[in-house]
Symmetry: none
Amino acid sequence: MIDETLYIPLHIQLSKSLEEKIKTHEYVERIPSERELMDMYNVSRTTVREAVTKLVNDGWLIKVHGKGTYVNQRPPIQEWLSSLNSFTETVRRMGMIPSSKLLTSKKLVADEQHISVLKNEVYMIERLRYADGKPVAIEQHYYPISIGKRLAEFNLDQETIYDLLENELGIMLDEAEQFITTTVIEEHLAKFLEIPKGSNVLLVERTIIDSKGNVIEYYIGKYRPDMYTFRVKTKRNITKK
Amino acid sequence: MIDETLYIPLHIQLSKSLEEKIKTHEYVERIPSERELMDMYNVSRTTVREAVTKLVNDGWLIKVHGKGTYVNQRPPIQEWLSSLNSFTETVRRMGMIPSSKLLTSKKLVADEQHISVLKNEVYMIERLRYADGKPVAIEQHYYPISIGKRLAEFNLDQETIYDLLENELGIMLDEAEQFITTTVIEEHLAKFLEIPKGSNVLLVERTIIDSKGNVIEYYIGKYRPDMYTFRVKTKRNITKK
DNA sequence: CAGTGGTCTAGACCACACT
DNA sequence: GTGTGGTCTAGACCACTGG
């Protein structure tokens, strides 16, 4: 059930296992108690609780003191957002022709706070993105050296990075967290986007982790607001509290 | 520092204490290490980690393996986009106190293109929103006359509109589509938000429908980007390829 | 190397829900 | 009372960062 020999943390393996059983309806109403899970997986209670807590935070489970841990009957949204489906797909869906220009591709030291969620050294790929030949966004991807070096071997003017990661490098993206806000564009980037200096852009910041819990990518995208907006479809959450 | 005699769990007390010190800028860049916190508060490492984990999940802190735990420099209010949340809920979740000032409440003719997803005549409610007494957003809600008239009978300085809709008017919100972009704030609104004229704000445009598919609300919100950010967590579906 | 967060164990007692 | 989740301890070892 759980493989000790893998270098994947037990609580992550357990968490994935439970999530799988929820999705396949093996667990429909309730999951086993924490002490039962300890025995089933031969792990400590702390490890069980860590795994369960993750699923509670993600909306899969609901804990009830004194009774048990229940499967949330209103499961969370689990689709990749279109913005993550790659710029390429999004632009194509709008009936426009996407293209790219590689600006930078180099190794550097992660000093900034957010970037340092990755290792000390990172590989940075910077691309200018077009729709129908008009500049729309500047994207910076930061990768662990090992991944970045391999990505750099491909023609990044042409390829979709997420396709490369999954299909060529065999890295399964698992979870991503994104922040959307706005900021003033840096002067040297303004001319690439063909907007006046001092203009505001939409800022997207993203961290992607793989199924082992490792950070795979840190990303910053700056989008021209006159060319790009984010669209989100949401449902009202009935979860009381 | 921590009162053992209270019925409040230690990890909650610790969590609140840290959150307080972040908000008052006692901790600006980094918080003490986990082992330091153990000594400072006379608790076990597990308890420290539980408290810290909560603050990481809530967006206050960022952990970096081998280096330390850092204060997140992003705007203090983070709205989860996975479900439809009200301003009130979002602000409360961040441990701040929400309040409102009603600016406008009147019937008008829907001439603009977007508003006319509603009927010809609409009811508009405009509110200035605060978190801990600081202005954060200006929200305009547009409703069909029948709904708007009834809403206007309540004290909109106090109430949560979505609560009123659901609990008092018996209208169940179901789905919403949101667009997020950025724009320059109008001059007459800048002073309400206490920002320089010409500043940029985050712009949210939203249409809500009920379970029958009727348009219930059209909404425009303008948010101060130094106070508010949008957060999205997306997950790969294991069952699908 | 020392210091940091990451993982994990074994065990204890408390608070709550149900019978 | 029994079983559940909630809280907490003390201690161990690993992995990473940085001097």
